[in-house]
Amino acid sequence: MEFFGEVWTWYTDPANWSGNDGLPVRLWEHVSLSVVSLLAGLAIALPVGLYIGHTGRGARMVVAVSNIGRAVPSLGWLGIAYPISTGLFQRGGIGFLPAFIGLVALAIPPVVTNTYTGLQEVDSDLREAGRGMGMRELQLLARVEVPVALPVILAGIRVSAVAVVATAPLAALVGGGTLGAYILQGLELSDEVRVFAAAVLVALLAILTELGFAWIQRSAVSPGLSRLDDAPMTDASRVARPGELGSP
């Protein structure tokens, strides 16, 4: 119990609330890095997924690349981004940039795979009906395909978001700060209190992200669409189903 007292003292110590290594700065680094990386990832992955899902063009290659991408461990993305970033920008390539590149790469594959798969699974009768009603391609996409595929698309976004928030601490390895900075400092100094206190905050952030996106999923999806909550995992987590989990 004494240990938890020390953790509490760490949280409430004013010294941990000020300066460049203070909680507000680290938290801000964590959240801003996650949000910016996720948005950039979506800006790339959604158009690609929608295009190949709607037209079927280039699908095989994109999905194959995306599947290899999902086999790369989160740590691998940051590791690869680091030399690329420093190679391109010398000293400017340390800190935010390699972390950003790594997290964007991490965010893309689940969204591409799920968007593509979601659109592919839309009943072709619905497409026919839409065309019969005189819808043009983009209208068909926006009014029929995306709404029907929405649960699967959102599940992909949720998996990406949680992965980004959960991996952001590794940014500390490449000088990108975040709450992970405390974990690395703590491991280096054998300061278990600091490690534990930061790990709890990281866990809370990830769980909040998970719950937030689960809520969005519930409120955005048409109630007429059935949910696949308790399905067993059979497709090697390639496609995250609405009730399914990503990678921790």
Partner: protein
């Protein structure tokens, strides 16, 4: 990257094949322990759920919460109790396998058609005989699929274990690649991790097909 140095140095790779083999060995061992222990625990939980179905909800909820904790956090949360040890790493890794394995074993057992169970009862099978000779063989494809996914997931997670001193292929990525700014080691580590999970996935897929030739017709 140190200036004037090529992005990938094959000579380093050739000189360090022994280290690569050692790290790969560590990686496989840590993964194997996690999946094996995870399977034993999950199997016991699934049998408990088979007998008392009401336990399923709470078990799924607890394992789901464990799964939602980021690996970087879960790997270090137990340090105050178990220190920088293999046990600390395995606690995290085993926790992550539970949700996948329990879900697949239970779903597999529940997917056995009721008339098959009736037939087994009619033939005078005891509960234990029914489990081992009828229910588990029918559930096998889904159970092996769970093992496959749990193993591939674990292989990715073990890379992080290097942060708490457990070596593995993550050591090449972080402790040599990032810390010493040596991209060759990072790329080697990442490529070998991807190869390892691909090989293991194909291997377990082949085992799954081999064990259940009757499932082939339905799979298509």
């Amino acid at each position: 990257m140190i200036e004037g140095q090529p992005f990938f140095r094959f000579d380093w790779l050739v000189d360090n094949l022994d280290q690569l083999a050692r790290r790969l060995g560590e990686h496989v061992l840590v993964t194997f322990i996690a999946v094996t222990v995870g399977f034993v625990i999950s199997f016991a939980l699934a049998l408990l759920i088979r007998r008392y179905p009401r336990v399923y909800g709470p078990v799924l909820a607890v394992s789901g919460i464990l799964y939602a904790i980021p690996s970087i956090a879960l790997f270090v949360l137990f340090i105050p109790i178990t220190g920088l040890s293999l046990l600390t790493a395995e606690i995290a890794l085993v926790s992550y396998t539970l949700v996948i394995l329990v879900r697949n074993i239970v779903t597999g057992l529940r997917g056995v058609p009721p008339d098959v169970i009736e037939a087994a009862k009619g033939m005078g099978y005891t509960d234990t005989q029914r489990l081992w000779r009828v229910e588990l063989p029918i559930a096998l494809p889904i159970i092996v699929a769970g093992v496959r996914i749990a193993t591939v997931t674990t292989i990715g997670l073990v890379t992080i274990a290097t942060l708490i001193g457990m070596g593995g292929l993550g050591y090449l990525i972080v402790n040599i690649g990032v810390t010493r700014r040596f991209p060759t080691a990072t790329i080697t580590g990442v490529v070998v991790v991807v190869l390892l999970s691909t090989v293991v996935e194909l291997l377990l897929l082949a085992i799954q097909r081999r064990l259940t030739p009757w499932a082939k017709a339905r799979e298509a």
